[in-house]
Subunit: 488 residues, 2 copies
């Protein structure tokens, strides 16, 4: 059952997954940039690689899952706050980038917890690895594949491309790229428009800065992932994941700089999840269709017809294959919500299912089919279709049109929970919400019935109700103005 | 109301709190060392400074609260894994200190959330500020108050003490200390037993290490707090807090090294919470009486008679003044639990309180008394006594033995919630637990009554029950074998 085939973006085919150093697996995934709340686009990589993490652990691998926090941002003071003003301003009055980063990282963690995304083994911060990043810059400079220009250090892509293929992950050719690219801002420092910064000189208005051998500045964005993945997983590690939007240039740059720093490739399997569209359109702040996860959970957004439970979102994402685009719409979400509720309702009734001598249901094949789907590049839509098939059969058993024996029912129960809860990560008790607000209402309803019974001098019923409530831990206290209650 | 007096350990008296740079307040508190789960001793500083954070914000200060994570630990590989073996071992097979640190930091955060301790504004990691710590070591070396010895850098306490008073915070005199101290391990590198490491050379078995101008090593423990507090709060900041166990030598060392690095004192108010004893004894792992927070919440510890709700623990800690020792015992906790439940129950009935034309209760004085207690060095036991007094009066109003008018009731409700929830941080809806398991039982009870009514051909009642359940969102479905229900 543990023959997991996974699509490797680098080779463009599904490959049998074999860790470098079993039973250990090293998994690195590009995490969020914490200068804003998480939107629906953040949910997809988080859930995709959470599924992979969960499934690898289910297959008894010892997984070290590293997902970074990009907190070396580009926050600046107001344009008119020159060098001098900053110097005079008290530290506490300034925006503190780390305070902003902490706020959004906390918000991200909160959303991930609601989505039942497991915490990674290590969540390193880019700002916490400045020394390591500087050491990697020095190595690349020593090897002659970077140059210093006006206090910044750039990677020399053209020189790299003479010996290696810059673009091998995304299937690009540097010469083609060069002929179709316009000059961008700040290019005058670079020898070549595709060169990228390993270390950036900090302008006076940059408030996040560190000393370095090249002057005060901050590390280039691509550098952090190379540095931190190797620090925690070793110079060669199993899996590097991320969204397809990071494929180029971020991951190409990672490949190039790591190759020069170490002399070899560092990543064995590159895995990318596809993107989310909204009502068929690309998502973007400028398009006005970017929806925060908190807005989805509350329903508070003009594009939303209702609030959606985090488990609906999770199920919706898993109902598509991670390499397919996924279109986000009210219709699609409502369909997922309905389907998940139907599925959970059926599963909740498994304990009460009548047992027969013989099974007409082939549970063993069903289990195999589910694993086959997972092993086929994490094909969750097919796997979930098998879960729905089984739900249909379970309902037929209830109607005595199919039957199941005790041994099969045991397997079914165990595997259904493994598939739904452990691997897909659906939190079953959370899927129905708002229960705690209901309790006082139902208790009041009971007390009203009792009050009515007393009025009708039906003291037998009224005493029975008090005793039964007492039996489940709710004490009733009769007062002049009616009955009061208390949980023991 | 905002005349907060707070006890400054440095001056040994209560002082009027006036921020350096109002409305901003900088608050630094020594956080946990994340190489073990949090125990009851961790709850006290967390809740004490959470109270201070909440109250300062209530007083409309803009507080930047920095609480560090000490993750530069002393984890070592097995003694027999010498340099060579480590080099050959794959990265993934080694213990990764950051994975251990992440695990325990996550556990700490989970416990703090249960205790309703607010997240600090910034939670910097010691391992994330190596560069800054190295820069501070260099400064102290340049000023001539540190020396390099066998790859480590030590602070020269004797030299410092000739110009300044080493021990001024804890009231110690260096000469007295020296005559009563035995030689300890590793002292041969030091000029003086009280010299402390700013940078420690890493032994071969140390797996957490960074390059530095003095060789591979790691920063001394005292250094991180000085570095990170100044980085995020400025070279002079308002409040430095921590447990009394950190007063000496940790905070003394902070004072000394910061004074040399900056030329002045950096902290304006030093605040220390007192310690927790268990059944009258000092707490300690070796004494076998160290209780984890998770054990308290589950009741799973030989010293515990029951589980205690996190809000009981919080209330228990706030019922003592933060500068008093606090003895942890089942009797004391049970008393807190009872008291809190009584208080919350009364507060929950405020909405239903009968209103009169006149008040016999002096709500204005009560509000003032509560603030006076808080302003008197955060005297929460006195403040909580006022809350109990008011609860007693509220119960008398219910019995028509006291009265309250509408305006006073409004003030009372608002202030009671502010005091209990916003300032003391008691999460009211959480204080009563286990409710979600009760709901299905109560619904079943209602359906049983309805079944009985149907049996007695009392269809009026049975329909009424179905309609009332429907009205609060619970659909009843009649089946052959009885009724089923569903939350809409």
């Amino acid at each position: 059952m543990s023959q997991l085939y996974i699509y490797n973006t680098l080779t463009r085919k599904k490959e049998l997954f074999t860790p470098l150093n079993p039973p250990f697996v090293g998994l690195y995934v590009c995490g969020p940039t914490v200068y804003g709340h998480a939107h629906i686009g953040h949910a997809r990589p988080a859930i995709t690689f959470d599924l992979l993490f969960r499934y690898l652990r289910h297959l008894d691998y010892k997984v070290r899952y590293v997902r970074n926090i990009t907190d070396v941002g580009h926050l600046e003071n107001d344009a008119d706050s020159g060098d001098d003003k900053i110097g005079k301003k008290a530290r506490l009055e300034q925006i503190e980038p780390m305070e902003v980063a902490q706020y959004y990282a906390d918000s991200y963690h909160h959303d991930m917890e609601l989505l039942n995304v497991l915490k990674p083994s290590i969540e390193p911060h880019a700002s916490g690895h400045i020394l390591e990043q500087q050491e990697m810059v020095s190595k690349i400079l020593e090897k002659g594949f970077a140059y210093i220009s006006n206090g910044s250090v750039y990677f020399d892509v053209a020189k790299y491309n003479k010996q290696h293929h810059y673009g091998k992950l995304s299937g690009r050719i540097l010469d083609d790229l060069l002929t179709t690219t316009r000059e961008l801002d700040g290019q005058e420092e670079k020898h070549n428009p595709f060169d990228f910064a390993l270390w950036k000189k900090a302008d006076p208005e940059h408030i996040m800065r560190w000393n370095s051998p090249w002057g005060e500045g901050f590390p280039g964005w691509h550098l952090e992932c190379s540095t931190m993945s190797m620090k925690y997983l070793g110079e060669i590690f199993d899996i590097h994941g991320g969204g397809m939007d990071l494929l180029f240039p971020h991951h190409e740059c990672e490949i190039a700089q790591s190759k020069i720093a170490t002399g070899h490739d560092t990543v064995r399997y590159w895995i990318h999840n596809n993107l989310i569209t909204i009502n068929g359109q690309k998502m973007g702040k400028s398009l006005g269709n970017s929806i925060l996860l908190s807005e989805i959970f509350s329903g508070n957004h003009p594009l939303l017809e209702q609030a959606y439970h985090p488990m609906t979102i999770r199920f919706f994402i898993l109902q598509a294959h991670y390499r397919s685009t996924l279109d986000f719409s009210n219709e699609a979400l409502q369909a997922s919500e309905k389907g998940l509720n139907r599925l959970l309702k059926t599963v909740a009734q498994l304990d009460a299912l009548p047992v027969s001598e013989q099974s007409t249901i082939d549970v063993t094949s069903w289990v195999k089919n589910c694993y086959d789907a997972l092993n086929d590049d994490l094909n969750t839509p097919v796997m979930i279709a098998h879960l729905f098939d089984m739900a249909r059969l379970i309902n037929l058993v209830k109607e005595s049109r199919e039957s199941i024996n005790a041994a099969d029912l045991d397997i079914l129960k165990r595997q259904m929970h493994l598939f739904l809860e452990d691997i897909l990560g659906i939190k079953m008790e959370q899927a129905e919400s708002g229960e705690s607000e209901l309790l006082p209402k139902v208790i009041q309803l009971v007390l009203d019935i009792r009050q009515e019974a007393k009025k009708n001098r039906n003291f037998e019923l009224s005493d029975q109700i008090r005793n039964q409530l007492g039996g489940i831990g709710i004490t009733v206290k009769d007062r002049k103005e009616g009955a009061d209650w208390e949980i023991e």
